[in-house]
């Protein structure tokens, strides 16, 4: 009986690791293959088989060329400006709204929650037909601040994360602060916001990735691509005549994913532990 039990345990364990390794392999393979190809100069790329390791892993010619050809310097600058502004503003208004929704009972509370949930159902790209007209009427097309303004429309996922996290922070904390004479602003900014840090980091990463990767609206509203293009637009310029020079395209791909990768490696712990249980336990 006991032997049978341990065989069963072993099988479950084997299955578990098999699945994990299987998924890790397919997740990493496409990116690793890009790294391989990006290191090959034109001649080597054409003459060798695609999965053959490159002769020199540290051949950066393709990277330099890709960076110049697709105007990535401007792309990175604009993406950086958009990213920083949107993240700061959305975090501010998102946490404030979540604070109000999770801490106060008032007639509009359920209505606002409902509005945000319904908004998650409205497909973003579909709305662009009408938003395009709206942006035109407000003279916001072809300006970076107009694009930033549009991107600020708070996304529902981060508000959900904030609300869930707020509800894990005991209300008694607020109440004891109120007894000590703290104003609501003090409670929000001095007590709850610091406790909310893990949730903020998580939401920042999720939202940041969304903004950094956004292509459709950027393409629509930043039509002057030479000066206003974001990094996604730079990368898209590889379609067309260069469409089959994969050693250069993959180099471009690797360049665009580097900042995200570095950020991810730095903040890995925060994002995983971020959503975990509240900072204070009753």
């Amino acid at each position: 009986m006991k032997a049978l039990y341990s065989v069963k345990l072993f099988l479950i364990k084997f299955f578990k690791y098999f699945i994990l390794i299987f998924f890790a392999f397919w997740m990493l393979l496409p990116v690793v293959s890009c790294l391989i190809t990006a290191a090959k100069p034109d001649k080597e790329y054409q003459s060798t088989s695609i999965m053959q390791m490159p002769k020199n892993w540290f051949n950066f010619d393709n990277y330099i060329h890709a960076f110049k050809v697709s105007n990535m310097g401007v792309g990175f600058r604009n993406s950086f400006i958009v990213l920083v502004s949107v993240l700061i503003l959305t975090t501010l208004i998102g946490t404030q709204l979540a604070y109000v929704l999770s801490r106060f009972r008032f007639p509009g509370n359920a209505v606002i929650r409902g509005m945000f949930t319904l908004a998650a159902l409205l497909p973003g790209i579909a709305m662009q037909v009408a938003i395009y007209n709206l942006m035109g009427n407000m003279h916001l097309i072809n300006t970076l601040y107009g694009y930033i303004f549009m991107m600020m429309g708070t996304d529902v996922i981060s508000i959900y994360i904030f609300i869930q996290y707020f509800e894990n922070i005991p209300v008694s904390l607020d109440e004891s602060a109120i007894v000590d004479g703290a104003s609501y602003w003090t409670i929000y900014s001095k007590i709850l916001l610091p406790l909310l840090k893990p949730a903020i980091v998580t939401a920042l990463i999720l939202k940041g990735v969304g903004v950094y990767n956004e292509y459709y609206a950027a393409n629509l509203y930043l039509q002057n691509k030479q000066t206003l293009g974001t990094i996604a637009i730079s990368l898209y310029s590889f379609t067309g005549p260069m469409g089959s020079k994969y050693n250069m395209i993959t180099a471009g791909v690797i360049i665009t994913l580097l900042p995200a990768l570095v950020l991810f490696l730095l903040f890995q712990k925060q994002i995983y532990n971020g959503i975990a249980a509240g900072a204070v336990k009753e």
């Binding site: 998924f23 609501y184 292509y215 471009g252 959503i275």
Partner: protein, 359 residues
């Protein structure tokens, strides 16, 4: 505090300083100040365009020029054009993919929430594709699926013959599955991380209690994990249905909608911005929204049915705990008020406090 900082007063002030403005007004102020911008933005960029779009859908119009009223013709066209109907059928592929994604994510998240060798590596490997630019993902998989390139090479290592393999992006029998696979690759990790977050927030003493009661891992999953992550699970299924109906980036970059891969959104983009048929595109958007709402409704009913028994113990226990905490808070509040009855060593009358104590 006050006793130390302020000079000792002989007379007790009539009103307590920090209580001068009624808290109710402050409360209303903070509610308005904190919610007016996000709600305003939401209305401006979601609800106002939506209403406009409903209006457009009854007109035959371009971005410039005078619109012409056509009544319901645009809606009729949506259900009679071959391309829109084909695109709607296509979203079934993506729906199947997204259901698979939620199920896989549920399994992987449950496994990764407990002790696993190199768990962080696996989490990272799963999550990291989510960070990659949609356009970059497009290029990666165009490259990946090209005849004789990455995917074919790897399959050949496992003994497949290249001549028996289809053209992954050109063969109409398979190309949509390739694109669904791309979406799965990109978004699986995100769902896993969201689920892990929810599972981690479950009180670990529940597992211990269940283990003492003799529940195995599967029973723990059904009776503890599943009910506890219900909200986030529902949200995710909801978002994946929306996502599958509005799949866009993968087909847009990889195939450009060629060879029968034009999803509803790719088609709508062409109609709105290349053909400039704004009215028709708006009608398409409204139809899509209707479908999403129906899907959400059906799903809500199904979930209610599926979870009708599962939340017995946990839900009740949580409710009881919340009730207890609430009562404790009530008591604390009364205590706190009565504690304030003495200031500067003298008794202060506070409106309402005494009655509460008496109650």
């Amino acid at each position: 505090m006050t006793a130390i900082n302020t000079p000792i007063r002989t007379e007790v002030p009539q009103e307590i300083p920090f209580n001068r403005t009624p808290r109710n007004w402050k409360k209303i102020g903070v509610i308005i100040a904190f919610s007016v911008i996000p709600v305003g933005l939401l209305v401006l960029f979601t609800y106002y365009p939506f209403i406009e779009m409903v209006k457009y859908s009854f007109y035959n119009m371009k971005y410039i020029g005078t619109p012409k009223w056509v009544g319901l013709n645009n809606y009729v066209a949506v259900f009679h054009r071959d391309d829109t109907l084909a695109a709607l059928k296509l979203s079934l592929y993506y729906a199947a993919g997204s259901i698979l994604q939620v199920l896989l994510a549920l399994y992987l998240a449950t496994v990764l929430s407990f002790k696993v060798v190199a768990g962080n590596f696996f989490k990272g490997a799963l999550f990291f594709p989510y960070l990659i630019n949609g356009i970059a993902v497009g290029f990666i998989f165009k490259f990946f699926f090209t005849r004789g390139y990455i995917f074919d090479s790897v399959l050949q290592w496992f003994g497949f013959n290249l001549n028996n393999l289809p053209y992954w992006l050109r063969d109409q029998a398979i190309n949509n599955w390739s694109l669904v696979g791309t979406s799965l690759w990109r978004y699986l990790g995100q769902t896993v991380v969201l689920f892990i977050g929810a599972i981690m927030s479950i009180d670990s003493s529940l597992y211990e209690a269940a283990e003492i009661d003799g529940a195995n891992k599967f029973q723990q999953f059904i009776h503890i994990i599943l009910p506890s992550i219900k909200t986030i699970l529902v949200l995710n299924v909801l978002l994946s249905i929306t996502g599958s109906l509005s799949a866009f980036e993968a087909p847009f970059v990889i195939t450009g909608g060629a060879n029968g891969t034009a999803t509803y959104f790719v088609l709508m983009d062409t109609i709105a911005h290349t053909n400039q048929k704004v009215g028709l595109a708006s009608a398409m958007a409204i139809v899509l929204l209707g479908l999403i709402l129906i899907a959400a409704l059906i799903q809500k009913i199904i979930f209610k049915f599926a979870f009708r028994n599962s939340d017995d113990g946990v839900e009740d226990a949580t409710k009881k705990l919340k009730k207890q905490r609430k009562m404790q808070r009530q008591r604390n509040r009364v205590n706190a008020r009565s504690a304030n009855l003495f200031r500067n060593g003298k008794r202060v009358h506070m409106a309402g406090a005494t009655e509460k104590v008496v109650k």
